[in-house]
Amino acid sequence: MRRLFLPLTIVAAGMFMCAPFLIDGAPYESTMGLVQKIFYFHVPSAMTMFVSAIVCGVASAVYLFKGRPAADRLAAAAAELTSVFGIIVLVTGPLWARKAWGVWWVWDERITSTFVLWLIFNAYLLLRKYGGPGSERLAAGLAVFGMANVPFVYWSVNVWRTLHPKTTVVPTLQPGMRGPFWFCVTAFLLFYVLALSARAHLEARRAELETLYLDIEE
């Protein structure tokens, strides 16, 4: 990963530079027109957010039961990125909703579950930051619970409300839209992997530094 980091960063940067041109070139959606273009960033961020949440949950479970510090560092990095991509999703969503539905926010299943998931991962970060020594383990427990909670939140909100366009729109995209869409998904996921590895690496360095300090003090 270390050797690939720089070339991949250049590729990701290039992809994000090309993305606006591809999105511009894609056909307009017949009823929504220009507003629909936000979809090329909204859906990939949402996908990245969910991937990140799963990474955090799995890494936390590994840390909790196997005690591997590397898994904890990966989980912390993934939780931060879940929060960041969550913000992108929760900002781009209402921007679109205002134009398409006429309101900024509706309590629909997908939106509400995304919001709940985002809250859980922010709780994870708060616990790590303000929980004091040993809170990594507690945060790992929370992440495991958070992951187990996803189907329940989804099901309960689903019965409670439904309005959001289904994810089944993705395979039915017009051919002209499909290319730019998957291009954006790839760009977001590539960026995610890079940011995740950089963040986990930083955390590893910090842990190293801490052991060095402790060695000097002894």
Partner: protein, 226 residues
């Protein structure tokens, strides 16, 4: 000592301590009543409660006072270092969790016995038209809430800012319980009672209980080891 004996000893200890001071049960109960009163000012319009207000008020009062009770119950254990003593004891760790959970459930049952009739009375809600189904919803919902809450409150004993972290961690995780509790109860309060709907929510709550009690038993040991 076997599992059931350990659970029984922990429950008996908690009940005895609480019976002597009655601190948690009184404070939690009055907090729940105060919650209901405060909500009345938000959800009563021209002397009439807004439709569907009662189930929401009931479940939020339970969630809020439950959080308070959980915090207090473990604060007591922390102050006297008794939780550490419990963890040192050569007994099954999961049995300790079940014992604490049972104690919290008993406490919340006492609170609900007072708060449910109070909400029914103050908000003109026919809460007792289907008593068995309502009791089942309350029992399953409270169990789910307390199952997650007991684990989180126990693990947060060692953390800083635990008072505020408990609700921050607990509410997002227990949102399915709140939705299922509120919607299930609302289905019972409608003009034409929607029994299948209430049953559907009840089965979701039971599933939630099974999954999260299992998960809590499974993670209690690694989470409580320092």
């Amino acid at each position: 000592m076997n599992f059931v004996q350990t659970v029984w000893l922990v429950v008996r200890k908690d009940v005895l301590v609480e019976a002597r001071s009655r601190e948690i049960v009184y404070t939690t109960l009055f907090f729940a009543v105060a919650c209901v009163l405060v909500f009345a000012f938000g959800f009563v319009n021209e002397g009439r409660p807004v439709t569907d207000a009662a189930p929401g008020i009931l479940w939020i009062a339970i969630a809020f006072s439950g959080t308070l009770a959980l915090g207090r119950a473990f604060e007591r254990e922390r102050q006297n270092e008794t939780l550490r003593a419990l963890m040192i004891a050569p007994v099954d760790r999961p049995a300790l969790y079940v014992g604490k959970l049972a104690g919290i459930l008993l406490l919340l049952t006492v609170v609900e016995v007072i708060v449910v009739p109070l909400v029914a009375l103050l908000f003109h809600a026919p809460l007792f038209s289907r008593p068995a189904l309502l009791a089942a919803l309350l029992a399953a919902g409270t169990t789910g809430f307390a199952a997650v809450g007991t684990l989180f409150a126990a693990m947060l004993v060692r953390a800083r800012s635990r008072d505020v972290l408990l609700p921050v961690l607990l509410y997002p995780i227990t949102i399915p319980v709140i939705i299922a509790g509120v919607r299930g109860t609302a289905a019972l309060l409608q003009a034409d009672v929607d029994v299948p709907m209430a049953r559907a929510w009840l089965s979701m709550l039971v599933l939630f209980d099974v999954v999260f009690v299992t998960l809590a038993l499974w993670t209690f040991e690694p989470l409580m080891t320092e």
